[in-house]
Every structure is written in C-alpha cells, then in structure tokens.
Amino acid sequence: MLLALLAFGAGGSVPRPKATVARNGALTVTLPAALLQSREIRQQLTSGLTTVFVLTVTASGDGGTAKGGARIDVRLDLWEEKYLVTVLEPTGQERKLTFAGEAALAKWWSETPVPVTAPRKYGQTVDVEVKLKMLPFSSQEQSDTQRWLSRTLSRGRAPSGEFTPAQSAEILRIIVETSVRRRPLLEYHWSVRAIREAAR
C-alpha cells in the first residue's frame, strides 16, 4: 500500500527550497512546507519510527565550490503525540527539538534555515544544487555517527573552539555516507540561487 502511495505522490511537484548566505558566511537552506504535506512523507512521519532527511548541497560561484549538508531525524512519539527532531549540522553541532504537533513541526520546517556549510567566503553569485533524501527508519549508522561525533568533538577541537576544515569534511562525510547506505524512499533535487541575508 505504501508503494502505491509513493507512486501516487511521486508525480506531484514540490516548491523549491530557499538558500541563503547568512551574515556569518554560512550557507543555509530552508525547506518547503509542502514536502511535509505530501502523502508519502506524512505516512512515513506518522509511522512512529524515525524518518531521516539527508540534505546535501553543492554551492558554486565566484568564490569557488563548497560542499555541505545536514541531517534531520524526525520521529513521532505516538503516546506523547510530539515530534522529536534531531538536527545534525556540518559543524558537528547536534540540536534536539520537540514539537507539539504537525503544525508546529511544519512551521519550524518551513521557517528555520538549516546551516549546510560552515562559515566561509562566498562570491556575489552562489548557485546551489540541493539534494534531499528521505530514508526509512533509523539504523545503527545513526548511533555510530553520534558516537563518532561525541568522541571527535571531545578531543579534536581547535584551541579557538572552531572546527578545522578536515574535521568539517569528516563530519560531512559521515552525515552523507553513513546515510546513503540505506534505501531512500524519496529523493528530490533542486537548483536554486542563494540570496544574501540582509545586514542589520
């Protein structure tokens, strides 16, 4: 039945995400709310099991090419009727969020920019290739990632408290590569041009 629903839902069009170069130089992506309203994603989200969204970007422009990504895990606690969300950013930061219902999740999803690259210098024009994969429920790679991150973050941070490029690259590799081992249910691909966040 899920396959039939997936087949039905696959034909629809989804609005593009919004890419923004933040004031601190990080590239962020804001995902469209329509994604969460599609039948196949809703069905997966309400399964009570973790749904993983893997976001990968390639930004190119005057300032060269940068790759980045983030990972968003969403699980509906059926008894508490709350959505438990974990966001893993390319800096290695992990954010845990809780939303009281579908509306609150959708609001956060469509209004919160998700950082996908560490701060860097971008040129005037930044074209961004955005890929989003929805994966079925979680597996051990997730906890492998968490273990690796906790170990790395506890011992490897630079004296300034920032991440070295090598560390960021390794985190990105883990975000992406440990996830693609699993079979995605859906995969989206967009090309967007990043806008710059207005200065204060």
Binding site: M1, L2, L3, A4, L6, A7, A10, G11, S13, V14, P15, R16, P17, P32, T46, S47, G48, L49, T50, R75, L78, W79, K133, P136, F137, S138, S139, Q140, Q142, S143, D144, V180, R181, R182, R183, P184, L185, L186, E187, Y188, H189, W190
Partner: protein, 471 residues
C-alpha cells in the same frame, strides 16, 4: 519552478522470492549434484568455473585478504539501542492469511519484548528476503496502555505461480594450434549458450507451512527436474524452519542398459533425491543451517567373468551429503541488494561410492567454504557488491575468488512500481585454483546482463567473456 523529483524505485518490488531461488540455484557449484529446489536457506556461492598460476605466497595473501574483509565487516554486525519500543503485539496486513505467521516468525521478533529501530530494520530485511514477499513496511500503532506499541507489518505478496528463465552466452579467446606455428593465432569464439527455464507453484498450508512444486528444464533434453518441497516455519514456536524435499531428475547419468549380458542395476526410483534442511536462528541476523541429503549415484565398473571376458556393471549406490553452515545476512534484497552484508562459513561432508576399473569402494569428501560479500549503495539507482569466496575441497583443491558487481536501475521508480524491476548488471571475478601441490591457475570472467523481475517471475539475459588465464 518546481523542484525536479528523482525518487528512488522501491527495490523491494516483485519477484523477490523467485529471484532469490533462481539466483541461489544458478550459483551453486558446478561439481555438486544439483537436486536442490529454490530455497532461501541455501547459501550463495559466487564461484564460477575458471582456472589460472600463482605461488604459495599469493595463496597466503588471498587468505589474509579474506580475513581482512571479514574483520572489516565485523563492526557492522554490532547494533545499538536507540530508540526502542515495547512491542505488545505484532499484526500483519496484506498477503494471504496463511503467510502471516511465517512473516512474524521470520521477523524473529516476539510480542512482549523491547526492540530498537536497528532490530526492526533487520527484521524488515529478513522478511523481504522471504521467497514470497515482494515488499514489507513497518509502522507502529498505540498499544493497550501508555508506552506499549503494536507493530504493524504491511506486506505485498507474490503470485502463487511463477516462471524463471535464463539464457547465458559465453565467449572466450582460443589459441589455434596448427602444424605450421606461423599459422597459429588467437580467435574470439562463442563457447556455448546455456538456457534454463523453470515453472512452479506455491501454496500456503496450515498455520506456517509452504508447499512448492517446481518443474525445470536444465541445459538440454532430456534432463528435466521435478521438485516438491514443504517448509514448516516457526517450528515449535522457535522461529526455526524445516524443509523436506524430494526431487526427480530425469537423467542423473545412468542412461542406456548397455550390451546384452551387462548388469544394469538402475531404476526410476534411483532418480529421486531426498533432502532435509533445518535453519535455526541464533541471533537477529545469524543462523545455523544444517542439511542432510540422500541421493543415488550411477557407479560403473567391470567384473571379470569365470570363462574369460568382463561384464560391465552399472549400480545405483547411495550418496549422503551433510552440510553445516553459519550464515550472517543483513542484505535487503535477495536479487538486487542495495545494502547489507552476507557471510557464510561452513562445511560439507559427502559419503559416496567410488569405483576403479574392477573395484568398488567408498569415499568421504570434505569441503570447507567461506563466503563474504558486502553491498554498497552508490546512488539512488546504483549499487556495488564486493566479495570473495574461499573453498577447500577435500584438501586437494583450493579455490579462491574475488568479485565485484555493479548494478543500475534502467527505468526509474515509476516504471518499476508499475511493471517491475529492470536492471543492468556488470560484474567480474578473478578465480585462483590450486590442485594439490601444483601451482595456482587463475582466470577471470567478465559478465554483463539484463534482469527483469515482477510478481510473476524473473528473466535474465547474460553475456560473459572468459579469459585472462594464467597457467
């Protein structure tokens, strides 16, 4: 502008069972009697025929390589515990009612236990490897009280009738030997074409039983094979399974009564082979597989007659074959895996008759085997499988091979959902063989094929080139 969608096909589509069965049967070693019917319990073997020269040092290096692969895979077998759920009951939707208990048994999950998502994911893969399951999806529902859950398994099931067909064409380069060496040369030749077809039916019997009937046309006429098997899953509520199998092979090699006066002791009943196969789970993804097979071999020898001359004798003598294997399997699809690891290690012991020119005796053959393969997802449509096998045949033949297989979905998710899977596969292997204390021989095979599967069966068209021999 709307975003471009590139949804990945659900690879768990149709023909999964038949695919597994066919794949397993085709991959069985050439030297073995092939009385098996398709059953997922059979270990996979990727050992193609082929020979080629190395040294003992290379032998050791290959063993070290296999061990290294094994150690590298070992961490993948360890799981974690977050998040987890107390499952108070398990419900199966879809398919025929007769299959529901089998699905629950094969999940290796039990009501009243707490499972994390990794365990549930492994259970999904196990169910998807069942011969009759097209796809399986898990979801949770609220249980009877706070913190308890009902696990709901939605399955799609195959048709009760199926067809399997395969055609393989082989080419190689042959050296032409002529009296005048100057005229000798190499020629690209087609070696042979092998066509195989099978048709069968599957019925659910009782609470957790499956009856299979399969008719096969193997290689060329008359060598048909007819097989009936019954598998009882969840034996005594232990999640173990037992398969009883009877197979009739039209031509096991004892044709012709010979000249008048010859002794021909072979009857139709000798064309039957019987087998029992037991699978006992020892962990979420690990199991022990044991089998016992009894068949008959046509044994030929001569006996001197009192008045001079000899009598040609053909007798049917029993062959008993026993196997014991440990199998670790996390692959998500029996025919087109897109992820997972499969390891099997074990031993086969065969007791059989042997004959010299005028003598009759018995012999015992031991065969040890280790197989490893791991599949990686490259993109949403592509997967790469890497692996190797090691075989020791009665301490007289050692064979090692490494292989790689890349596969790609040819027509996308929409058509896959509508019509079935269509994939292109390209692969190759390198086989090293050593007979007793002789040096190694090596050869390679490069294969490309197109495979189609749906809920009715599997069609496969393969072309392969055998070469790069080192004698």
């Amino acid at each position: 502008m709307p975003g471009r969608q590139r949804e990945n096909p659900r690879m768990s589509l149709q023909g999964r069972a038949l695919a597994a069965e066919w794949e397993v049967r085709l991959r069985h070693g050439e030297s073995r009697k092939q009385y098996e019917i398709p059953h997922p319990a059979y270990e996979r073997s990727y050992a193609p025929a082929g020979i080629g020269a190395c040294t003992f040092a290379r032998d050791v290096r290959i063993l070290a390589l296999l061990l290294g692969v094994f150690l590298a895979l070992a961490p993948a077998m360890l799981g974690d515990e977050i998040p987890s759920f107390f499952i108070e009951s398990i419900r199966v939707n879809g398919g025929s009612p007769g299959s529901h208990r089998i699905v629950v048994a094969e999940s290796r999950l039990r009501a009243g236990q707490t499972y994390d998502e990794a365990r549930l994911r492994d259970a999904t893969a196990r169910i998807q490897r069942l011969p009759f399951v097209i796809s399986a999806d898990f979801r949770l529902a609220k249980g009877s009280e706070f913190g308890r859950y009902v696990l709901v398994i939605d399955i799609q099931q195959m048709k009760p009738f199926f067809v399997l067909a395969e055609s393989t064409t082989s080419w190689s380069v042959e050296t032409t030997r002529l009296p005048n060496p100057a005229d000798a040369g190499e020629e690209f030749v087609r070696q042979n074409r092998s066509d195989k077809i099978a048709a069968g039916a599957r019925m659910f019997v009782g609470a957790a039983g499956v009856l299979n009937l399969v008719a096969e046309r193997v290689e060329h006429r008359p060598n048909d094979r007819y097989t009936m098997s019954y598998t009882q899953y969840d034996l005594f509520g232990t999640r173990a399974s037992l398969t009883a199998l009877a197979s009739y092979n039209e031509n096991p090699g004892a044709r012709g009564r010979g000249a008048p006066g010859d002794r021909f002791d072979w009857h139709h009943k000798d064309n039957f082979t019987y087998e029992l196969i037991g699978i006992v789970p020892i962990g979420p993804n690990d199991s022990i597989r044991a089998s016992w097979q009894r068949g008959y071999l046509p044994i030929r020898y001569f006996r001197g007659l009192p008045g001079g001359g000899v009598q040609h004798i053909v007798r049917s003598l029993p062959e008993i074959r026993k196997e014991l294997y440990w199998i670790h399997d996390t692959t998500d699809d029996p025919l087109f895996p897109t992820g997972g690891t499969r390891i099997s290690a074990g031993m086969t012991r065969t007791h059989m008759a042997s004959a010299g020119l005028t003598e009759l005796g018995r012999q015992k053959l031991d065969e040890m085997k280790l197989s490893l393969d791991r599949t990686f997802r490259l993109t949403s449509a592509q997967a790469l499988t890497l692996g190797g096998n090691g075989l020791d045949f009665d301490r007289s033949i050692r064979k090692y091979d490494v292989f790689a297989r890349w596969s790609v979905d040819l027509w996308g998710r929409e058509r896959t959902l509508r019509h079935g899977d269509l994939r292109l596969e390209i692969g190759g292997d390198r086989v090293y063989t050593r007979i007793q204390d002789d040096h190694f021989f090596a050869s390679s095979t490069l294969r490309t094929g197109i495979v189609f599967r749906n809920e009715w069966g599997v069609l496969r068209l393969t072309g392969q080139y055998e070469g790069w021999r080192v004698d």
